[in-house]
Amino acid sequence: MHVVLLRLALGLYSLGFAHSVLTALKKKQTLFGPALAAMSVGFALHVASIAIRAVDVHYLPLTQRYEGFSFFGALATLGFLIAYAKYRIAPLSVFAFPLIFVMTFVANLFYDPSASIPPVLRSNWLYIHTPLVFLGYAALFFAFAAAIMYLIQERALKSKHPTRFYNWLPSLDICDDLAYKSLAIGFPLITLGIITGALWAQAVWGVWARDAKVLFSFLTWLVYMLLIFYRLIAGWRGRKAAYLYIVGFIGVLVTFLSANYFGGLHTF
C-alpha cells in the first residue's frame, strides 16, 4: 500500500517537474496553479505512504536507502509549502519541484521490500541523527535556491536590461531574507546532526574521524559558519554571500553522495 501511495505521489510530483522545465524553457511561468495543487496532494499521499510504512515495520522508516530518499523528498515538499505560504514566491518552485521529483524518483528506483534493519544502524541514535541532518539539508537547499534567485535578479538589475525573469523573480530583499532565514534554521540542525553523529560513532566504533562523509560534512559546516560569522560581524550579504551559499550547498551535495563513492563508515 505504501508503495502505491509513493508512486502516486511521484506521478503528481512529475507535474511539478513539468512546470519547472516548461517555465525555464519558455522563460515564463507555466502551469504553476495545477502544479502547486498536484504537489500539495502528492505531499499528502507521500506522508500517508511514510506513515503506513512506519506502522508496518514499527519504526521510523529511515534505514533503507529508498526510505531515506523518500523521507528527504517529503521534507523538501514540506519546506517548499511552508516557504510558499510565507513568502508567496512562485519562482522557488522551479528549484524545489525538480529536487522533490528526483528524490522521490530515486526512492522508487531503489525500492526494496525487505524490512530488515542493517545491524550497524540498530540504535536509537538513528532517529535523532538522521532526521536532524535531513531537515538541515532541506533548509540549506532553500538557502541555495534563494541565493541563485538573488544572483539572477542582481545581474538583471546591474545590467539594466530587464528581462521577463526580472519581473517574475522576487525582490533582492526577499531572496536575501529567505536565504538567511533558511540558513538560520538549517545551520543549528546540521550542527546538532554532526554532534549526534559524533556521539553515535563514539558509542559504536569508538573512533569516527576516518570517514569521507564526516570530513566533508565538517568542511561544509565551516563554510556555513563563516557565512553566519560575517553576516553578524560585517552585515555580509549580496553577491559574495550568495556565492558562499552556493559553495556551502555544493558541500552538502558532496557530503550526501560521498559515502557511496569514497567509501567509509557511512556505506551500508
Binding site: 538589475l157 539594466k160 519581473n167 525582490s171 533582492l172 530583499d173 550579504r237
Partner: protein, 418 residues
C-alpha cells in the same frame, strides 16, 4: 440588438477639438437624457475623458448620435466630421472592448481607463439610460478587460521615469516602508520621482541643495528634513535611495565615497538614481556589491524595453478581443426573439422530415393519398407544439424579458445560434 458608436480620441482629434466635445460631469446627466429622449435611441452611455469622447447607444443609426453631439455642443457638423469615427454592431462591440481593455489608450495598457469606463457606465445607470443590451455589453467589456490584464503583460511594466524608479526600488528593497530617500539638488524630475516613491510607501525624505532655503522649501512639501549641502555625505548613511539632480559639472558622489558609505551601512543595499546631465555620480558605483546605480539613460532604456514588451503583449490582447467579440455576438444573437422563432420553426420542421425519411422503408406501401395525409398530420402536430412557445415569444418580443425567454427556449429545444 443594434449598436451604434460615435467618438473621437487623441489619435483622430487635437486637444482643441477634444475639449470642445468633452462633457463635464454635471452636463452628462442632461446629455444622456436628451440623447435617449430621441426617436430610435433606446439606451446610451457617454464616456468623456481628456483623451477621448465616446458615445455608444442602442440604436440603428449612428447619424442620430452625430446630430446629438453637434446640437449639444452647438458645433457645425462639417467642422468636426473628419475627427469623428462611427462604428456599428460588431465593430462597435470591438471598439468598446478595446477601449475598456486599454488597447486604444495613448499609453497602451494604462490602468485608469477601466475605472473611467466603469464610472461612465455607473452615471448612465443612475440616469436610467442603460437597459439590458448595454448592461450585457459593458459587463462583458469589464470581464474582457480583466482577462486581458491577467493573461497578457500589457499593464505590467512601468513606462515613465518616475514609475520605472519606483519599480526598480521595489525589486531591490521589496517593501518600501521604513525606507528613506535622499534628494540631492532640486529639479522638477527629482521631485516627481521622490513624490512617486513617497506614494509607494517610502517613509522619510531628506533634502539637500546648494541653496539651503530651497532645500527647506522642498523638505516641507514631503514633510521631510533639510540637511546642509556641505554635510550631505554624513546624512547619506541613513538613505536607502539617493536621487541626484544637481547642476554640478563634476561627479559629486565618487566610487570611493559610495564604497565607504556602503561599508559603514554594514552592506545594507543602496539605490542611486542619477537624473542629472552632466551626471552627478561616478558610473563605477554600479560595480560595488549592494549598490545599484541608474542614470537617466538607463531609466530610459528600461522604459523602452517595457514599451516593446507592451507592444508584443498587445498583439496577444488583440487576439483575446477577437475571440471575445465573436463569442459575445453569438451570445447576443441567441437572445434575440425573431431569429429564435425562425430557427425554432426550421429546427422542428427538419426533425419532422428526418423522421419521415428515416421511416421511408415502412411507409412505401402507403398510397399517395395516405402519404399526403401523413405529411399533413405530422405538420399539424409540429405546429400545435410550437404554437404556445411562439406566441409567448411574440408577446415579449419588445420586453427586456424577451431575451431571457429566447435563451430558455433555445436551451429547451437545443437550438444553437447560427
Amino acid at each position: 440588438m443594434q449598436l451604434a458608436l460615435v467618438g473621437l480620441n487623441h489619435k483622430t482629434a487635437p486637444v482643441e477639438i477634444r475639449e470642445r466635445l468633452a462633457f463635464s460631469s454635471d452636463a452628462l446627466r442632461s446629455a444622456l437624457a436628451s440623447l435617449v429622449g430621441r426617436e430610435q435611441v433606446n439606451e446610451a452611455i457617454i464616456l468623456s475623458t481628456c483623451n477621448r469622447v465616446e458615445v455608444v447607444a442602442e440604436s440603428s443609426d449612428d447619424r442620430l448620435i452625430r446630430e446629438f453631439l453637434c446640437e449639444f455642443h452647438q458645433i457645425p457638423h462639417d467642422s468636426i466630421s473628419k475627427h469623428l469615427y462611427s462604428f456599428r454592431n460588431v465593430d462597435a462591440i470591438r471598439h468598446v472592448f478595446r477601449v475598456t481593455a486599454s488597447l486604444d489608450s495613448m499609453v497602451v495598457g494604462e490602468p485608469q481607463i477601466l475605472g473611467q469606463v466603469k464610472e461612465a457606465y455607473r452615471i448612465a445607470a443612475d440616469a436610467g439610460t442603460v437597459g439590458m443590451h448595454l448592461t450585457a455589453l459593458m459587463n462583458r467589456a469589464f470581464a474582457v478587460a480583466k482577462r486581458v490584464r491577467s493573461e497578457t503583460g500589457i499593464s505590467q511594466s512601468a513606462v515613465s521615469v518616475s514609475y520605472a524608479a519606483v519599480e526598480l526600488a521595489r525589486k531591490i528593497f521589496g517593501d518600501l516602508s521604513g525606507k528613506t530617500v535622499m534628494i540631492i539638488g532640486a529639479s522638477k524630475m527629482g521631485e516627481l520621482a521622490a513624490k512617486h516613491l513617497r506614494r509607494a510607501g517610502v517613509s522619510s525624505v531628506l533634502v539637500t541643495n546648494r541653496t539651503f532655503e530651497r532645500a527647506v522649501e522642498l523638505a516641507q512639501v514631503f514633510e521631510g528634513a533639510a540637511v546642509p549641502f556641505e554635510h550631505f555625505a554624513d546624512h547619506m548613511l541613513g538613505a536607502d535611495i539617493v536621487i541626484t539632480s544637481t547642476g554640478a559639472p563634476h561627479f559629486i558622489i565618487g566610487k570611493n565615497l559610495a564604497e565607504q558609505i556602503i561599508h559603514r551601512r554594514k552592506n545594507r543595499p543602496m539605490f542611486f538614481i542619477d537624473i542629472a546631465v552632466p551626471r552627478d555620480i561616478d558610473p563605477g558605483v554600479n560595480e560595488i556589491d549592494n549598490a545599484f546605480l541608474y542614470d537617466i539613460d538607463d531609466l530610459q532604456q528600461v522604459i523602452d524595453t517595457n514599451l516593446k514588451e507592451r507592444l508584443k503583449e498587445s498583439m496577444r490582447a488583440e487576439e483575446i478581443i477577437d475571440h471575445e467579440v465573436e463569442s459575445f455576438c453569438l451570445k447576443m444573437k441567441g437572445r434575440e426573439v425573431v431569429p429564435t422563432i425562425i430557427e425554432l420553426r426550421d429546427s422542428l420542421e427538419k426533425l419532422r422530415r428526418d423522421e419521415i425519411e428515416r421511416n421511408r422503408r415502412h411507409l412505401k406501401n402507403l398510397s399517395p393519398e395516405q402519404q399526403a395525409a401523413l405529411d399533413q398530420i405530422t405538420k399539424a402536430i409540429v405546429n400545435k407544439i410550437l404554437h404556445s412557445p411562439i406566441e409567448q415569444l411574440k408577446q415579449v418580443a419588445h420586453d427586456p424579458q424577451g431575451a431571457d425567454l429566447a435563451d430558455l427556449i433555445r436551451k429547451i429545444f437545443n437550438i444553437k445560434p447560427q
